[in-house]
C-alpha cells in the first residue's frame, strides 16, 4: 500500500506538462478530449473525457414508435449505421418472437458484411493517415468506394442503407446485380492481399506499429474488451460464432485471432477479417437466386409487455440492444451498449501508458474508436462541470433558438 502511494507520487513528479488533445483536433473526425500527461514526450497518464457528441438517443427512442425508431437507430453511428438498425429490428423481433424469411436473413447478412468491408477499409486508411502515410489513406479509401458502390447497388444508399424493417428487409436484391458484385469482390480481394503485404512488411509502417500499444490478454479479459481489439490480443471471441444470429452458423468462415497484442496485430486482424467478409459475401450471393422471393413477414406494431435483448457483432465488436415494451406502440425502455465505449474507456489508458506522444494517434486509431456511438450514453457539461439531463424540451428549445 505504502509503496503504491510512493509510486503514484513519483508519477506525479514525473509529469512535466499536460497536453489537451481535442475536443477539436486534426487527429479526430469527431469531438473528443484526451488530456495527456507528459514527461518530455513520454505519456505518463491519460484522462479521457467523452460526451461531446451526446444526443440523448435512448430517451428519444422511448418517445417514438417502433417504426420511427428504425430510422433513429440508424443515425447513431455514421460508419456502422447498418448494424445499429439491424440489431434494433432483431431486438424488436425478439420482443415479438417472430421469425423473418430466409431471404431477408441472407440480405441482412450481406448488408452487414458489406458494411464491415467498408468500415475495415476506412480503418486501414485512417491508420495510414495517422502514421503520416497519406498514400495508404488515399488508396484504402479509393478501394472503400467499391464496397460503398456495392451497398448502393443493394440498397440505393451509400451511408444510411435503410434496409431492415421489423419483420424483414425493405428491398429485395435483384439477380442481375450479382455478377457485377462478384467482380467488385474479386477486385477487393486482390487489393486486400496488397494491403496485407504492405501492413505486414513495409519498414516505416512496422516502425510505427509493431510492439507499440500493447494490450495484454489478461487486461482484455478483466475489462471485457470486445471485438477486433480483443481478438488482436489473442482472445477468441466473436458474437457471430458464439451466439450465432442471421445466417452466420450456416456459412463457412472463421474467427481471426492474432497473438501479438500490439497495434500491428490489431491492423492485421482487420485486414484478415476483410477476406472472411468477402468469403461470406460470395456464399450469400451464390445462395441468393435459389431462395424464395418473400422478404418480409407482417408484424403487429403494438407490442404487449415483454423484454428482449439482441446481440450482434458490429465491425468494432459486440453491440447489445435491450428493449422493454409496455403494451403501446412505443418502447418503455431502450438501452444500447456499443463496442467503442468499452474499447475507448478501458483500453486507451492501458495501451497509451509509457508510449511516445508521437505514437498516440496511431495507437488511438488502432483500436478504431467511434465516438458518435460512444457518446450516446454519457453527458458531462465540461464548462461548469455539472451533469445535466438533456431531454426533448431542452433540445427543442435549442433548436428554436437556432431558428431565431
Amino acid at each position: 500500500m505504502k509503496e503504491e502511494k510512493k509510486m503514484e507520487k513519483v508519477k506525479e513528479e514525473r509529469v512535466t506538462y499536460s497536453l489537451p488533445i481535442g475536443p477539436q483536433h486534426p487527429m479526430y473526425v469527431e469531438a473528443e478530449n484526451l488530456n495527456v500527461y507528459l514527461d518530455g514526450e513520454t505519456i505518463v497518464d491519460v484522462d479521457i473525457n467523452v460526451g461531446y457528441l451526446h444526443r440523448g438517443i435512448e430517451e428519444l427512442m422511448q418517445r417514438r414508435n417502433y417504426l420511427q425508431n428504425i430510422y433513429l437507430s440508424e443515425r447513431i453511428c455514421g460508419i456502422c449505421s447498418g448494424i445499429h438498425s439491424m440489431t434494433y429490428c432483431q431486438c424488436i423481433e425478439n420482443l415479438l418472437d417472430v421469425n423473418i424469411p430466409e431471404r431477408a436473413k441472407y440480405i441482412r447478412t450481406m448488408v452487414l458484411e458489406l458494411e464491415r468491408l467498408h468500415s475495415h477499409f476506412l480503418f486501414l486508411g485512417v491508420v495510414g493517415y495517422e502514421i503520416g502515410m497519406d498514400t495508404a489513406f488515399m488508396y484504402a479509401w479509393k478501394d472503400r468506394e467499391f464496397s460503398m458502390d456495392m451497398l448502393e447497388q443493394v440498397s440505393g444508399n451509400r451511408v444510411n442503407y435503410a434496409m431492415p424493417t421489423v419483420g424483414g428487409v425493405r428491398r429485395d436484391v435483384p439477380n442481375h446485380i450479382i455478377p457485377s458484385m462478384l467482380k467488385k469482390l474479386n477486385h477487393l480481394e486482390k487489393r486486400t492481399e496488397y494491403y496485407r503485404k504492405v501492413f505486414l512488411r513495409d519498414r516505416t509502417i512496422i516502425a510505427r506499429t509493431r510492439g507499440l500499444g500493447i494490450l495484454p490478454k489478461k487486461d482484455v479479459e478483466r475489462f471485457s474488451i470486445v471485438g477486433p481489439v480483443a481478438r488482436a490480443s489473442g482472445l477468441k471471441i466473436d458474437v457471430r460464432r458464439d451466439t450465432p444470429y442471421l445466417k452466420y452458423d450456416d456459412l463457412d468462415w472463421k474467427v481471426i485471432v492474432e497473438k501479438a497484442e500490439d497495434s500491428q496485430s490489431r491492423v492485421m486482424v482487420k485486414v484478415l477479417e476483410i477476406f472472411q467478409s468477402i468469403k461470406i459475401l460470395r456464399q450469400c450471393l451464390k445462395k441468393l437466386p435459389s431462395l424464395d422471393r418473400e422478404i418480409k413477414t407482417k408484424v403487429p406494431l403494438v407490442i404487449p409487455k415483454a423484454e428482449a435483448i439482441a446481440i450482434t457483432e458490429a465491425p468494432r465488436g459486440e453491440l447489445v440492444y435491450y428493449a422493454m415494451s409496455n403494451g403501446t406502440d412505443r418502447p418503455e425502455r431502450m438501452r444500447i451498449r456499443t463496442p467503442s465505449f468499452v474499447n475507448i474507456i478501458y483500453s486507451l489508458p492501458i495501451i497509451l501508458k509509457e508510449q511516445q506522444l508521437a505514437d498516440l494517434p496511431a495507437i488511438v486509431a488502432s483500436i478504431d474508436p467511434c465516438f458518435s456511438c460512444t457518446d450516446r450514453m454519457t453527458l458531462i457539461d465540461t464548462k461548469s462541470g455539472e451533469k445535466k439531463t438533456v431531454d426533448e424540451t431542452y433540445l427543442k428549445k435549442l433548436g428554436e433558438r437556432r431558428l431565431k
Binding site: 497536453l19 502515410m133 497519406d134 498514400t135 479509393k142 511516445q356 506522444l357
Partner: protein, 296 residues
C-alpha cells in the same frame, strides 16, 4: 549584378520557381496517390490569399513572434543568392559555402524559434522536435558537403559547379556522400519520413499553429525556397553541375521527382527513429570523407 540579384536568378526567379516546383511536387504526389491534385500554380494562389488575410497576434506570444518568420525568409533568400543556379551565382565570394551552410541552418532555426515564441503548446512541441531533428540532419548535411569541397579544394559552390561541368559528376565519385546529402534534403525540408515537426495528427501544425496571414505565408514560402535552394545546391555539388538553364531544369526536376517518391512512399518516423536514421547516413557520408582525405 543588380539584375542577377533582383530578377534572374535572384529574388523574383527564386520565389516564383520555388513556388512552381512545390506545385509540381504536390501535383505529382497527388497523381501518384490517384488524386487529381491542385494546379501547379496553387502555391502562388495560396501565397496571395494568405498575404491578404488578417495577421493575428495571440496574447501569450513573445516579442519574436512578429519578426522570426521574416528573418527565416530573408536567410533562405540570401542562401538562394549564394547558390549556383544554371551556372550563375548572384552573390559570390571566397568561402561562401560556409556562409551558405550557416544561412540555411539559420533559416530553419528562425522558423523553429517562431514556434517557440508563439507560446502555444503545439508550437513548442513542434519546435522542440524541429531542433532535435536539426541535431540529426546537420551532421550528414555538413559531412556530405565537405566531401566535394575537400575533393575540389575550393570553398566556392560556383567553382565546384564549373569543375563538375568540365570533369564529370561528384555524385558518381562519392555516391555515399550524395545519398547522405539527399537524405538531409528530405530532413531539412520536412518531407516524409521527416515531417515530424509539423505532424498534423499529433501536434496540429507544429511551429506554425498560431500563425496567420502574411507571417504564415512567409513561413510557407521559406519552406518552399529551402527545397529549391537545396535542390540547386545538390546539383552544383554532386549531380554534375549546371551550365545552362535547360540542364538545370532537367536535373532539378529529376531530383524533385525522387523527393516526391519519398513523400508518397513512406510513413512518418518518430523523433528518436529520425536521429538514428540521419546519424546512420552521417556515418555513411563519413566513409566518403575518409576516402577523400586518404586519397589526397
Amino acid at each position: 549584378m543588380i539584375f542577377e540579384i533582383l530578377i534572374y536568378p535572384g529574388f523574383v526567379f527564386l520565389v516564383l520557381a520555388s513556388m512552381i516546383y512545390y506545385g509540381i511536387l504536390r501535383k505529382v504526389a497527388a497523381r501518384m496517390q490517384s488524386r487529381i491534385g491542385p494546379p501547379i500554380w496553387q502555391p502562388i494562389l495560396d501565397f496571395i490569399k494568405l498575404v491578404g488575410k488578417e495577421d493575428l497576434n495571440p496574447e501569450q506570444a513573445k516579442a519574436g513572434f512578429t519578426f522570426w518568420p521574416f528573418i527565416a525568409i530573408t536567410s533562405v533568400l540570401i542562401a538562394g543568392l549564394l547558390t549556383p543556379i544554371a551556372g550563375i551565382v548572384p552573390l559570390s565570394f571566397t568561402g561562401d559555402i560556409v556562409v551558405l551552410i550557416y544561412f540555411l541552418a539559420f533559416g530553419s532555426l528562425a522558423v523553429y524559434l517562431s514556434g517557440f515564441s508563439s507560446s502555444n503548446p503545439y508550437g513548442v512541441v513542434g519546435s522542440m522536435r524541429g531542433l532535435i531533428q536539426m541535431i540529426g540532419y546537420e551532421f550528414p548535411f555538413i559531412v556530405s558537403i565537405l566531401v566535394p569541397v575537400v575533393a575540389a579544394g575550393i570553398l566556392s559552390p560556383f567553382l565546384i559547379n564549373t569543375l563538375q561541368v568540365h570533369y564529370g559528376w561528384f555524385g558518381f565519385t562519392f555516391p555515399f556522400a550524395a545519398i547522405a546529402y539527399f537524405v538531409s534534403i528530405l530532413a531539412k525540408v520536412e518531407v516524409p519520413p521527416f515531417h515530424t515537426p509539423g505532424a498534423h495528427q499529433e501536434i496540429v501544425s507544429g511551429y506554425s499553429t498560431e500563425y496567420t496571414g502574411t507571417r504564415l505565408a512567409m513561413i510557407e514560402l521559406a519552406h518552399m525556397i529551402k527545397l529549391f535552394v537545396l535542390i540547386s545546391l545538390g546539383i552544383a555539388l554532386f549531380f554534375g553541375g549546371s551550365a545552362d538553364i535547360l540542364m538545370f531544369i532537367v536535373k532539378s526536376l529529376v531530383l524533385l521527382f525522387i523527393i516526391t517518391l519519398a513523400r508518397v512512399l513512406v510513413a512518418r518516423f518518430r523523433i528518436d527513429q529520425i536521429l538514428k536514421f540521419t546519424w546512420f547516413f552521417g556515418f555513411v557520408a563519413l566513409i566518403d570523407l575518409v576516402r577523400v582525405v586518404l586519397i589526397l
